[in-house]
Amino acid sequence: MKEIVILSGKGGTGKTTIAASFAVLSRNSVIADCDVDAPDLHILLHPSPIQTQEFKGPELAEIDAEKCVECGLCQEACRFEAITDFRIDPILCEGCGTCTVICPEAAVTMKERVSGEAFISKTKYGLLSHALLSPGGANSGKLVTLVRQNAKEVAEKGNCDLILIDGPPGIGCPVIASVTGADMGVIVTEPTISGIHDMKRVLQLLAHFDVQPLVCINKHDLNLQNTTKIEGFCYKKGIDIIGRVSFDPIVTKAMVFETPIVEYSPKSGVSREISEMWKEILNKV
């Protein structure tokens, strides 16, 4: 079984648009939305959940006001500044438990906390593993790991040979959780100064975790000079560019119709470019 993860560094370059199209084009794959902070793939794939699971994030400290003698030791010890006036701020509490061991009165205990939900859903295009972190919830990396585990389980059961992962923006904890152990990373970039800057950082990340990189230049015709810069950079580094997708307002139209572009307008130039790119990827896996 192979895992392909779609990344970008910079947000809004078109990861989900392209991932949804790949989901349509792929046969016998499981799809995983690992952007658990702001998941959007479901908007295009219209999943119906067949399995829902609570996600237990970090525990939450709780101070028993009756036992608390207001000595303030916990406030001093908490590195996350989550305790003020002998009260725990649930948004700042990381669940480390230091307050429980410093309290001389055993007034602080750790309580389970649900920080999100994970789902396995049916879609027209195959099974989707996805999740939603509670707003402001902590430990999105752990939830990403759960989404990937769930995807692997259903892929094994269904004899699927491919898992297609829509990754989050950035390079931090949820991104690392999305790429570790994956076979291939497809970076969707755009020909802007920040698109290029952010692509370079994700490329470094993929190298760090030993994941094979491929680059797709989305909206390549918006700035041909920058597209040439990306091509030159990738050529020098020996990184394959697997596709160039044109800028076309029809992509936004397809999004408004909540349909993957390759299904909304299969004959459009953009759809042909994405289909070609998908063939390229299959050749490389």
């Binding site: 970008s8 989900t16 702001a38 230091t98 920040s194 999004m255």
Partner: protein, 291 residues
């Protein structure tokens, strides 16, 4: 609206966030900063900082960012395993006379130091990134860079905000990272007001709704800027109307704005009429908070 405790003198901390990535947070933050006098911009997207690509500041100060990690004195350690049992982040493993420590998983809580019955654990510093400060185009910029491969952005964000603190007489604009989890909370925490930048598409709307929930939980007053107005549909407007969320400004989708962004040029430089719009908006928000 209540004046927050940060509201010293007449300065304001205004953060720019979004939920969805790529909606134009940095564009708004940089162009607004350039439309004001005496302002500092803190780029808190330390995973993928971009504000410096538009401002090109001359960096005058670079600081390393460290986190604390445990060091175990093996002469004192008797491998009892209490530290590993305590660590909620699975950063420590003690097996048969062997200590294993995974620094990337450590949250620097310091709990292991406290639980060790042999006092065998001390802490040392580990570098996870840097912060940089410089100025350009009338704006003081502080930004951070998380080292590639490091998972935890919040300590760098804290360091960026700390480095920005001495400038108490200036207004502060914070450019937050995308998403809705810990790095965003760390960035917007302590703001007097947050602007949510969205685009009028189903993705923009869905992620805006999540961001609205987060800000409501944090009790930070907020309003919306609709970027790329004219593309997509009208559902973001309908949502804001229904929830009585003010739409502060609409930035139309114009090829010129997109082109200027692609080459790293703030659009107020070429379209100076926008300076007044950003300035007026900033004043309006400030007035609403002081009322």
């Amino acid at each position: 609206m209540k004046r927050s405790k940060n509201f010293e003198g007449h300065t304001m901390i205004l953060s720019i966030a979004s939920g969805k990535g790529g909606t134009g947070k940095t564009t708004v933050a940089v162009n607004m900063a350039m439309s004001l006098e005496n302002v500092q911009l803190l780029d808190c997207d330390v995973e993928e900082p971009n504000a410096h690509l538009l401002l090109h500041p001359k960096v005058t100060e670079t600081r390393p960012v460290y986190v604390n990690i445990p060091v175990i004195d093996e002469k004192k350690c008797d491998y009892c395993g209490e530290c590993a049992k305590f660590c909620k982040f699975n950063a420590l493993f003690i097996t048969n006379k062997k200590i294993m420590f995974f620094p990337e998983l450590c949250s620097s809580c310091g709990g292991c130091v406290i639980v060790c019955p042999k006092n065998a654990i001390n802490e040392k510093k580990r570098k996870i990134g840097t912060t940089k400060k410089g100025s350009a185009k009338g704006v003081t910029l502080v930004y951070g860079e998380l080292n590639v491969g490091e998972p935890m952005a919040p300590p760098i964000i804290k360091a960026v905000k700390k480095q920005g603190q001495p400038l108490k007489k200036a207004d502060t604009i914070i450019d937050a990272p995308p998403g809705t989890s810990c790095p965003v909370i760390e960035s917007v925490h302590g703001s007097d007001y947050t602007i949510l930048v969205t685009e009028p598409t189903p993705f923009g709307l869905y992620d805006l709704k999540i961001a609205v929930e987060v800000l409501s939980k944090l009790k930070i007053p907020f309003g919306v800027i609709v970027n790329r107005a004219g593309i997509g549909d009208k559902k973001v407007h309908a949502f804001c109307r229904e929830k009585a969320i003010p739409i502060l400004l609409e930035i139309p989708y114009e090829r010129k704005i997109a082109e200027l962004y692609s080459v790293g040029k703030p659009f107020v430089l070429e379209m100076p009429e926008w300076k007044k719009k950003f300035h007026d908006l900033f004043d309006k928000i400030k007035e609403s908070l002081q009322a």
